[in-house]
């Protein structure tokens, strides 16, 4: 895969505060990359650096094989879509779309062509004469995407584009962005509003924390084989259960409970010591399914959260909090004792000291 955006040894600090630290990232041609992390992890900052809106402290940025580290935003071949849409309020949709082209002094017929094409792709043709205030949130965001579209750029940058929309509209537009990517095959770098956006849209996800990329993998790997405790805890809702215990001769033990890890795929040959066993709430079985699970436990339910499609129950395993997700048909009540089971080979084992997956 030829790389479209390539970031080498990028650092950025504001005074004493280091926001990004010698960050390396290669994004392939036509790839949809999602930057995910807690607020303040530097994901938006990274996006702004790629766009050229922030002066970096050190490092290099290549876009389409060209070193653009010192280039102005407009010369980098990037289009950007912002959370607040950032439409020019006094201009009509048509003027908004054509602004960049007019600034670049493109011939009028070509401007008209490009605006028409973008309006068709985004289905905003009837809105061209309106002002941004007369548009709904979804329509505004379409125009904002269109503004990046008309410039015919190689790379699209999205900075939480769907955050200001309601849940229904958000999922609609999510599909549309997916469709747009399949149609245009541009490289897209996307900072999502939530994990669902990240998981559904991404070819690869980069999980960031304190300006450092923790894991860069496809959504499936990120979800099933998180590299460390941070990634494991960050991805998934409700978050992964962590049981603190010891690894002794290939078995995980906590209090009186021992869990065999014979089928678990260790990264390196395991060594005895303090470890954390992570089990996703949705990998826990209740009811009849428990019998098929290698590990079976009894636990008392403390809190039940019905979510509609399923139910989340809070219990304790070996004195440590443990949640599981059950089908909504399973009737659960606080105080009730239920049998739960899981397959430790689907779980993750982390070194308690370093937090790394073992």
């Amino acid at each position: 895969m030829q790389s479209s955006v390539s970031i080498k040894d990028l650092s950025l600090s504001f005074g004493q505060v280091k926001v990004l630290e010698s960050l390396d990232l290669d994004i392939g041609q036509g790839e949809f990359l999602v930057l995910l992390g807690p607020s303040g992890c530097g994901k938006s900052t990274l996006l702004n650096c790629i766009a050229g809106l922030l002066d970096i402290t050190d490092g290099q940025i290549f876009i389409s094989g060209r070193n653009v580290t010192w280039e102005e935003p407009k010369d980098r071949g990037v289009g950007m879509v912002f959370q607040s849409y950032a439409l020019y309020p006094q201009m009509t949709v048509e003027r908004n779309l054509s602004f960049a082209l007019r600034v670049a002094r493109m011939p009028k017929p070509e401007i008209a062509d490009r605006v028409k094409r973008a309006a068709e792709i985004l289905q905003i043709g009837p809105l061209l004469e309106r002002k941004p205030v007369e548009l709904s949130g979804g329509q505004r965001q379409r125009v904002a995407i269109g503004r990046a579209l008309v410039r015919d750029v190689d790379v699209f940058l999205f900075d939480e584009p769907l955050s200001n929309l309601d849940a229904k509209l958000r999922s609609d537009l999510r599909i549309e962005i997916r469709r747009l990517h399949q149609r245009l095959k541009n490289t897209m770098i996307y900072v999502p509003h939530d994990q669902i956006e990240a998981m559904t849209l991404a070819d690869r996800i980069a999980i960031m924390r304190n300006g450092v990329i923790q894991q860069l993998d496809d959504p499936h790997t990120i979800y099933n084989r998180p590299k460390n405790l941070f990634v494991a805890g960050f991805i998934g809702s409700p978050s992964m259960n962590f049981l603190n215990g010891r690894l002794e001769g290939g078995r995980f033990s906590v209090d009186q409970t021992t869990i065999p890890l014979a089928d678990y795929a260790f990264v390196n040959p395991p060594q005895d010591g303090k470890v954390v066993l992570g089990i996703r709430p949705e990998h826990v079985a209740v009811g009849d399914d428990v019998r098929r699970m290698p590990v079976q436990l009894e636990s008392e339910i403390e809190i039940v959260e019905p979510m509609g499609s399923d139910t989340i129950a809070w219990t304790k395993v070996a004195g440590q909090p443990f949640t599981f997700r059950a089908a909504s048909e399973v009737h659960l009540q606080p105080g009730q004792k239920v049998a739960i089971g899981f397959d430790p080979s689907r779980g993750s084992v982390f070194d308690a000291e370093s937090g790394e997956r073992i």
Partner: protein, 305 residues
């Protein structure tokens, strides 16, 4: 609806509350209205005296009934104040002062606002090293008493040959309006989403293009506020006009003072009153005309779009 009517005080309290809560005239409310009425009389009475006096003849004024209506209203005093009242040796009325004030305002207002707008824009969006310090210094300028810097400025302006000239007084008004106007614009631009600026940069617009094509059209509401501030401030200015404008460009306020303070002959109160009202009219008109725009401007700025 009937519930609200039935629920008036004094009627049966057994009615189930429903619909809008009935409004009652409480003692506190009566007190507020009484205060407001007294306050408005307090402020309107001088205006009343001025208008009626300006319409009276001198013999009628000498009767000393300052609150009474004029028996034979006449605009003679107004014409005299405008056209023929004497300021020292010249007897041209306020007319030349009016046009001088128009000249000074017409130049000072747009120049000071344009520069302040640029200042605020640069300080909000194009942060350079020391921008905050520069802004702090500029703000400090708002607290410097005029009298302190007056003499050095006189010397400076006369060195470059601008003392007592129209460009001189325009420069003075521009400089002294800079602090407050820059503050106004900087805060306005700081309240705009930074993403708008980023979007424009990604779209390829530079410093001037972003300023003229995006920021300038967006700053209409705050510009109206700035115009009101500057027009009324410069029109009402006396000190700078007196010191820096020179004999040729004496603004209306200075000429008004000369008419009112003249010591020769009888005091023509009706002419004085007319002259004062004439001078104040411009500021009043600005307030009345801009009132609607003022509110609209504030409202337009409040709505996110």
């Amino acid at each position: 609806m009937t519930a609200a009517v039935d629920n008036l005080p004094g009627r049966g309290a057994a009615i189930e509350p429903r619909g809008p809560k009935p409004k009652r005239l409480t003692p506190a409310r009566i007190g507020i209205y009484a205060f407001l009425i007294i306050a408005s009389i307090f402020f309107l009475l001088p205006l009343w005296v001025m208008v009626t006096t300006s319409l009276k003849t001198l013999p009628e004024i000498r009767l000393g009934e300052i609150f009474s209506l004029p028996q034979q209203p006449t605009f003679d005093a107004w014409f005299k104040a405008w056209d023929t009242a004497c300021t020292g040796r010249d007897c041209n009325g306020l007319k030349p002062g009016f046009w001088n004030s128009v000249k000074i305002s017409a130049l000072s207002v747009p120049i000071s606002i344009l520069i302040a707008m640029l200042n605020g824009y640069a300080l909000s969006f194009w942060k350079y090293k020391g921008a905050d310090l520069f802004f702090a210094l500029l703000l400090f300028g708002a607290f410097v008493p005029y009298q302190v810097v007056m003499y050095p400025i006189i010397i400076g302006l006369s060195r470059v040959g601008l003392f007592g000239t129209l460009p001189g007084i325009v420069i003075i008004h521009t400089i002294f309006g800079m602090s407050i106007l820059t503050l106004l614009y900087r805060n306005f631009f700081a309240s705009l989403p930074a993403e708008l600026f980023k979007a424009a940069r990604v779209d390829g617009a530079g410093f001037w293009q972003i300023f003229f094509r995006i920021m300038l059209p967006m700053s209409v509401p705050i510009t109206i506020v700035a115009i009101i501030l500057q027009v009324t401030g410069i029109w009402n200015d006396f000190l700078f006009g007196l010191v820096f404008a020179g004999r040729e460009n004496m603004p209306m306020t200075v000429q008004l003072n000369n008419i009112v303070q003249t010591t020769t002959g009888t005091r023509e109160y009706n002419v004085n009153m007319a002259a004062i009202i004439l001078t104040a009219t411009v500021s009043l008109v600005i307030y009345f005309l801009s009132g609607k725009w003022f509110v609209r401007g504030i409202a337009a700025g409040a709505v996110k779009g």
